[in-house]
């Protein structure tokens, strides 16, 4: 009888550990999702600034049509992509193209001195900072979550409970603006 209770206590203890572990994994996964939503918000801010920038620069550098078309195409691709793994590449290219557009704009002294350009440039720089910071936070959460589910003893049952490693959001050309 004593042995029966000992086994029962052991199972109860293991069940409790599993419950705590499961709850912790759910919390970590939710944090990853929350951080991704934040990245998404910042990326959307970046996308929203592009038409304003193009409109402003186009008036001075109409011959840069190819660059503007590329910017529009990359913005479309980035908006259509969903999830960190598919968004990484177009967002990196978009950030690089955005940097080039700013560089083109800066080669026109009258545009560079225009107040609306200066305020837009500041807004873009701030957005790029926030994108970079949101990416750092997201990747930090992914690292903690992935480490958790890929190390013992959680790795034994993480897969069974439906926890899969999350994808990192790769660094693009952020901060170049």
């Amino acid at each position: 009888m004593t042995a029966f209770y000992a086994v029962l206590a052991l199972f109860a203890f293991l069940g409790l550990l599993l419950t705590f572990s499961y709850n912790r994994l759910v919390r970590l996964r939710n944090k990853v999702a929350e951080a991704w939503r934040d990245v998404d918000v910042q990326l959307q801010r970046r996308h929203d600034l592009i038409p304003r920038l193009v409109e402003l620069v186009e008036a001075y550098a109409a011959h840069e049509g190819e660059l503007f078309a590329k910017l529009a195409r990359l913005r479309g691709e980035a908006e259509n992509a969903s999830g960190p793994d598919t968004k990484s590449a177009p967002e990196s290219e978009l950030a690089a193209a955005l940097g080039r557009t700013i560089a083109v704009a800066e080669s026109y002294p009258s545009l560079r001195a225009a107040e609306n350009f200066l305020s837009l440039q500041k807004e873009i720089a701030e957005t790029e900072n926030e994108v970079a910071a949101a990416r750092i936070i997201y990747n930090g959460n992914v690292r903690i979550f992935n480490t958790r589910i890929q190390t013992l003893p959680v790795s034994f049952y993480a897969d069974l409970l439906g926890f899969e490693p999350a994808a990192f959001f790769q660094a693009g050309a952020e901060g170049t603006v």
């Binding site: 944090k31 939503r37 934040d38 926030e130 910071a133 750092i136 930090g140 959460n141 979550f145």
Partner: protein, 302 residues
């Protein structure tokens, strides 16, 4: 003591030299040996009184022991005075070298909840002028709990400044420690009843973010991803400091556990270098035009 102004002829002081000079000065001073002699006489007198009821031979020993104890006490008091004076002289010169101001004594700031906490508070070694125009002061803050034998003193290096306008009613970012959380439950501030979990797991592992009930949106608006990254950067650079950040209206306090020592003055510059991005961000949020200068040496104090 009054504020000390910059003297361009000064060279970078060395604490050991300053201390040795103070010791020499003390030994040369006539008053010091007077004090030692007085200690010996008072000690001998007390020894004599203590030995009154004893045999003459024991009495002589009591007088001798009293004399020795009195003289040693006076010597130790003199030594402590040397330390105190050397500390003040060193910090005064060290601060003046950087065009900062130093004051050895002053009242502790008590305008944020954490700075008000504890049964008693003490403050010393006030440095200012490192961020001109900001009104920021770095100092040693002591929080004293209990009294007598149960007295517990926790020393913090604190940075305090006031913004021109209130930023948020209350924001506390405190070290994530179960002991501290339990302590605050019993002795803490009942006004804080909203714990806010932000999107960063790492931030959550190191810090507990709290505010007044119903202010979560305000906190989230203030603590943008780049602000969170600044806090995490501080934590990574200074992991052992139990870092704390508090805003109460327009009053801001940053604290880390630690002691200001003239033997390690680089801690001050290291902390200022690490605190600067966070202070800049708050000042920007408050719409202030203050531009905080880069520190001369920005070494990690850890």
């Amino acid at each position: 003591m009054g504020a000390v102004h910059y003297a361009p002829t000064m060279s970078e002081p060395d604490y050991n030299e300053v201390e040795a000079e103070e010791r020499r000065r003390l030994l040369r001073s006539f008053g010091y040996w007077d004090l030692v002699a007085l200690g010996a006489v008072v000690g001998a007198g007390l020894g004599y009184l203590y030995g009154l009821a004893r045999e003459p031979r024991e009495q002589a020993w009591c007088v001798f022991a009293g004399m020795a104890v009195g003289a040693i006490c006076a010597l130790v008091a003199g030594w402590a005075r040397v330390q105190g004076r050397a500390r003040e002289r060193f910090f005064t010169r060290w601060a003046a070298e950087r065009r900062w101001l130093y004051e050895a004594e002053g009242e502790p700031f008590e305008d944020t909840l954490f700075l008000q906490s504890g049964d008693k508070r003490k403050a010393s070694d006030f440095f200012s002028g490192f961020w001109p125009g900001s009104g920021a002061v770095l100092y040693q803050h002591e929080r004293i709990e209990g009294s007598g034998r149960d007295e517990q003193v926790t020393k913090y290096v604190a940075l305090h400044f006031s913004l021109h306008r209130p930023l948020i009613d209350l924001l506390q970012i405190s070290p994530r420690s179960h002991a501290a959380e339990l302590g605050e439950k019993f002795f803490g501030h009942s006004k804080i009843d909203e714990r806010i979990e932000l999107e960063s797991t790492e931030l959550d592992q190191h810090f507990r973010v709290s505010s007044l009930r119903g202010r979560e949106d305000e906190v989230r608006r203030l603590l943008t991803p780049s602000a969170i990254v600044k806090l995490l950067d501080f934590q990574r650079a200074f992991p052992s400091g139990s870092a704390r950040f508090e805003i109460l209206g327009s009053n801001v306090a940053f604290l880390v556990k630690g002691t200001l020592s003239p033997k390690q003055p680089q801690l001050i510059e290291g902390l200022l270098g690490l605190w600067r991005p966070i202070a800049s961000w708050l000042m920007e949020e408050a719409g202030e035009q203050v531009r905080l200068p880069e520190a001369a040496h920005e070494e990690s104090p850890s």
